[in-house]
Amino acid sequence: MEGEATKGVLSVLSRLEMQARSRKAKPPQQQNSVKELKSTIDALITQRDQLKAQIETQMCVQKLRAAMDKQGAHEADEEMDDGSENSKLLRLMARHAQLKDLLHAHHLIGGYDIVKTCQGKGVCVSLATGYEGVYLDTYNLEIDLKETLRIGRHNIPPFIPVNSLAEQSNMQTDIRAFLGALSQHLNAFAGRKQQELHKSVEVLETNALCSILVLLLTVPREKIAVLCTLDYADHTRCLPTRVCIECEDKELPGSPHWKNNITLLKETPVHKALITMKKMGYIV
């Protein structure tokens, strides 16, 4: 059933394409001679029929594509195959579109986008980073495939220990473990950096790896300054391992409210914790 339609559509398209090429369509302008008008009409009819046939073909391909998505490429093949050249072409086109979309999907979910380089002597992988739905920087790494795998060029910042991660995760035998560990470090770094950007309080100290953060908080009524140090000793995480509160008022850090705040800062990303603390009136 599908076969008949496709046979018809594609042969019509062929014919129209040839017609269009053999005739030079005049640009539509005010024409007064019957002969000119008739020739313009013929050209427009060809163009219209061509567009209709193209749209119908595209809808055929789309239907095939939808069936492929549901059933899997090979089963859809058997159902719609009438053996004709046109049917083969349409199936190829549907498969082409499906493959491009699947590859794009791999990219969107944070895949490594592995690409061969230097005539197969190496590969290049992309490490995507993101935080809370925002796609952030992508880092690239070349790996040379000689007798042993060797890390080539890359744009990973120096404070991420690429070589030691490669050793620890046995890159030679388990490249996925290496890439997973590297991705974990890069994403945690990206997350910490992203949290810092939401700065709603004064940042007294930070470092390139965003593994330490010293904030100056102010208690509203008494206007007391509180120094809050966040230590992110575990570089694979976006939450601090240690939170330290210092204040002229020695009682304050031990008070139940501030003990809660410390817990909050340990369990919630800093930008969100600070918003909560502001709402609750603990800081300005």
Binding site: L37, L44, R48, I55, L102, L103, V134
Partner: protein
């Protein structure tokens, strides 16, 4: 002298045809944008070449080669990424002013874990040609049986819309579950008299029956959990089921079993610790 009537009739026809052509072109444009007519430029060219008659054969074989190359590429990505994607569909919800909002649905599996994610992706093309992308809504559906261990993580991820975190953690979770399954299966095959897997090799529990002491059962509980933050942790615990009579006989030997096992774990790691434990029982 031309017939004025004929001319105006023909002019009317020209106008109607021009309107039809514009409408069809608009339909094609619209279809390309909202995904119902998805042919990219590449396929459009191929279609034109094939239908044009001349060079059709060549265009067809080039398309075939391209499809084969795409298949190889997809295989490479699947191998390295650890995800097997079965479908990806997209729909354009909003388009204009450099901002594109799409609704995407990606389905697939990670080892034995099936998933389906639906999300909204906003792409903002900035002046400096950078494209800012953001997931603005996320819905994750997983198999009911897999949901349990992952449920708090999944609801956290849906809240934060962290699509990338979901997939990173899913992959790690799947790898740890596979480690567990392989280890359990290995021991069941090696020591069939002692080891049994009441819940199958995919479950969390491996039971060890003492060959000499019926009723004395050691339960190895190996849980793999994902925290709300996305961290994957494995925990092995040893539970003992010892009947009263045996306990009276020699409680010391049995009592410290759980702690002893934890020490073994710390020193030897899961596989070696389990091996030692099983051998101690079988001896």
């Amino acid at each position: 002298m031309e017939n004025v009537d004929e001319v105006s009739v023909l002019q009317g026809q020209v106008q109607r045809l021009q309107a039809e052509v514009s409408a069809l072109q608009a339909q094609q444009q619209h279809g390309r944008r909202d995904g119902t007519l998805p042919l990219t430029g590449r396929l459009q060219d191929t279609l034109a070449e094939v239908c044009g008659g001349a060079g059709g054969e060549e265009a067809l074989s080039r398309l075939r080669e391209e499809v084969q190359e795409l298949e190889r590429d997809l295989h490479r990505q699947t191998e390295l990424n650890g995800f097997s994607l079965s479908s990806c569909s997209s729909r354009s919800l909003q388009h204009g002013g450099g901002v594109l909002v799409q609704q995407l649905c990606i389905a697939g599996s990670c080892s034995e874990l099936d998933f389906q994610v639906e999300f909204q992706l906003t792409s903002d093309l900035k002046e400096d040609q950078r494209c800012e992308r953001k997931v603005t809504e996320l819905n994750v559906v997983m198999d009911a049986s897999d949901q349990q261990a992952l449920s708090s993580f999944v609801s956290g991820v849906e809240e934060s819309r962290d699509l990338l975190l979901f997939f990173r953690s899913l992959r790690t979770f799947s790898e740890r579950c596979n480690d567990r399954r392989r280890t359990f299966q290995h021991f069941q095959e090696k020591y069939p008299a002692v080891v049994s897997l009441p819940g199958g090799c995919g479950s969390e529990v491996m039971t060890l029956h003492h060959p000499e002491l019926p009723g004395c059962v050691l339960l190895v509980h190996w849980s793999v959990e994902v925290s709300r933050e996305g961290g994957v942790t494995s925990e092995l615990d040893l539970l003992t089921k010892i009947p009263e009579t045996a306990l009276q006989m020699d409680s010391r030997a049995v009592g410290g079993a759980a702690e002893a096992f934890q020490s073994l774990l710390r020193i030897l790691g899961p596989e070696a610790a389990l091996e030692s434990l099983i051998q101690a029982i079988s001896a």
